[in-house]
């Protein structure tokens, strides 16, 4: 059977990502999120990539660097989001060279948004942009399917996110310490992985602060308790 090509949103608000995929396309089923905290931002993601029910990749890295301390979480079509991230990475590098100063998270968000908006009928990309810069500190921007731009204290995305709106709303606190923020992200993603068939595998995180980018990795066989690397 073909996947639907109507592009319309299902009433449950969950199954739109699937419906918009092209035939045979690799889907980042996905649970992604990014949060602000006292010293910057943290990005987090699961690692499952599916084609239908088949797990095409069980250790995917959905956290993508577009500049030193500006990263994005990708959901939707793997091909589309990789292409968009590559374009933005190039643009930001160019910006840094031409203007002699590093781009801000806002610069990145603006470029991401323009691409997603101008090509909305060809893309299935749900992105979260998170970054730290000297001027604005840590910031989180969400760019959902239609290409709108939303500034948020924290953002969640992907099919798994629908299962954790309650968890996040209940447990979110502004200006957390790093350790608490890491635990918040981990707790939320554990729930998403637990309930969403399209999310699974390891939990990856990137912590962005004045000190730079720091990667975290947590594995299911140690119950996501031990930090590897």
């Amino acid at each position: 059977m073909e996947f639907g090509n109507s592009g319309f949103l299902n009433e449950d608000g969950i199954h739109l990502d699937m419906d918009r995929l092209k035939k045979g396309e690799v889907n980042l089923g996905t649970s992604i999120m990014a949060v602000t905290f006292k010293d910057g931002v943290i990005l987090g993601a699961d690692s499952r990539t599916t084609t239908g029910a088949y797990i095409a990749n069980r250790v995917t890295d959905k956290l993508t660097q577009v500049h030193d301390t500006i990263w994005c979480c990708r959901s939707g079509s793997a091909a589309d989001t990789q292409a968009v991230a590559d374009i933005v990475k190039y643009q930001l590098e160019l910006f840094h060279m031409m203007n002699g100063k590093p781009p801000t998270t806002q610069t990145a968000a603006a470029i991401f948004q323009e691409i997603c908006y101008a090509n909305k009928d060809m893309l299935s990309a749900g992105l979260i942009i998170a970054g730290w810069d000297e001027r604005h500190g840590g910031q989180v921007y969400s760019i959902p399917l239609g290409g709108s731009l939303h500034k948020q204290p924290y953002a969640i995305g992907g099919s798994g996110s629908t299962y954790i709106y309650g968890y996040c709303d209940a447990n979110w606190r502004e200006g957390m310490e790093e350790e608490d923020a890491v635990n918040f992200v981990k707790g939320a993603l554990r729930e998403a992985i637990k309930w969403d068939g399209s999310s699974g595998g390891v939990i990856r995180m990137v912590v962005l602060t004045a000190k730079g980018a720091d990667r975290h990795l947590y594995l299911p066989d140690t119950d996501y308790k031990v930090r590897h690397a």
Binding site: T36, A110, R135, G138, S142, L149, G175, T209
Partner: protein, 291 residues
């Protein structure tokens, strides 16, 4: 070496053997004949002023503005060939628009100066064009507060963004002057046009680079700007002129970060003080003569 008759001044794209571009030097002459323009950069903002020579009694007073706004927070004043200046402003507005389209945020003063410097320089390279007959002064106030991405909705955490570098400030006033060669520098005070020598001498007395610039308020800068234009006009007394002045303050100041014309009451007060200062100068000189 003179340029006359050598042929090296006939085209833009040819250097003279001693390394000069005569077309650019002639363009500078056009600037030196124009009404004086100045810019003052102080802690609270930037003031731009121009001596607008009245070429005909049939011109409407206060019309035909010479200082132009670019985006909302930048101003450009120029001396020299006015149509060249108008085109320069048009281009600056296009650059500001292009920046907004791409980055969804207003262009910084330094970035506009850089782009316009590049544009001006390109007109010194080709056989088919002549250089700009103007020197332009660009003033602006880059926002010191956080700005949204144009069109964004939503907010960050109410406690503010985490991880900001404490004590570090951003934005502030900017003043740049671009010459026909495309050369541009950032200045504390800039002057160009016919009365530039006198104006520069006066600007230097303000000590804008040192404690003078720290203590000078924006209103004082407006008054100084008016006085300097009047002083600079002194050598050109046979012609009538109008004083046009604009200013740009920070978000907390009188213009709220926008480039605006100086309010009429303040401008007239500044002009009154300028005239008074000139008269007392004259009296001093007269006094000396009598000695």
């Amino acid at each position: 070496m003179t340029s006359i008759g050598t042929g090296y001044d006939l085209a833009n794209s040819i250097f003279s053997p001693d390394g000069r571009n005569f077309q650019v030097e002639y363009a500078v002459k056009a600037v030196e004949n124009g009404g004086t323009s100045i810019g003052i950069r102080c802690k609270e903002g930037v003031v731009l002023a121009v001596e607008k020579i009245i070429t005909s009694k049939l011109l409407k007073p206060n019309a035909n503005k010479r200082i132009a706004t670019v985006d909302r927070h930048l101003g450009i004043v120029y001396s020299g060939m006015i149509p060249d200046g108008r085109h320069f402003v048009d281009r600056a507005r296009d650059e500001a628009r292009a920046w907004r389209d791409t980055f969804k945020t207003p262009i910084a003063t330094a970035d506009l100066a850089s782009r316009m410097g590049g544009y001006m320089q390109a007109y010194t390279l080709y056989q088919s064009v002549r250089p700009f007959g103007i020197t332009a002064i660009i003033g602006g106030f880059d926002p010191s507060t956080d700005l949204p991405v144009d069109g964004e909705v939503g907010r960050g955490p109410s406690c503010g963004a985490g991880g900001k570098v404490p004590g570090k400030t951003f934005g502030g006033p900017g003043l740049y002057m671009i010459e026909p060669s495309g050369l541009y520098w950032g200045y504390y005070g800039a002057a160009t046009g016919k009365g530039r020598q006198a104006a520069k001498a006066e600007l230097e007395k303000l000590d804008l680079a040192g404690p003078g610039g720290e203590s000078l308020t924006l209103e004082q800068a407006v008054k100084e700007a008016a006085r300097i234009i009047y002083v600079a006009h002194d050598d050109n007394k046979d012609k009538d002129f109008e004083l046009e002045m604009t200013w740009i303050s920070g978000p907390d100041g009188p213009t709220k970060g926008l480039h605006q014309e100086v309010p009429r009451a303040l401008r007239e007060e500044a002009e009154r003080l300028a005239k008074k200062a000139l008269e007392s100068d004259d009296e001093d000189e007269d006094g000396k003569m009598e000695e």
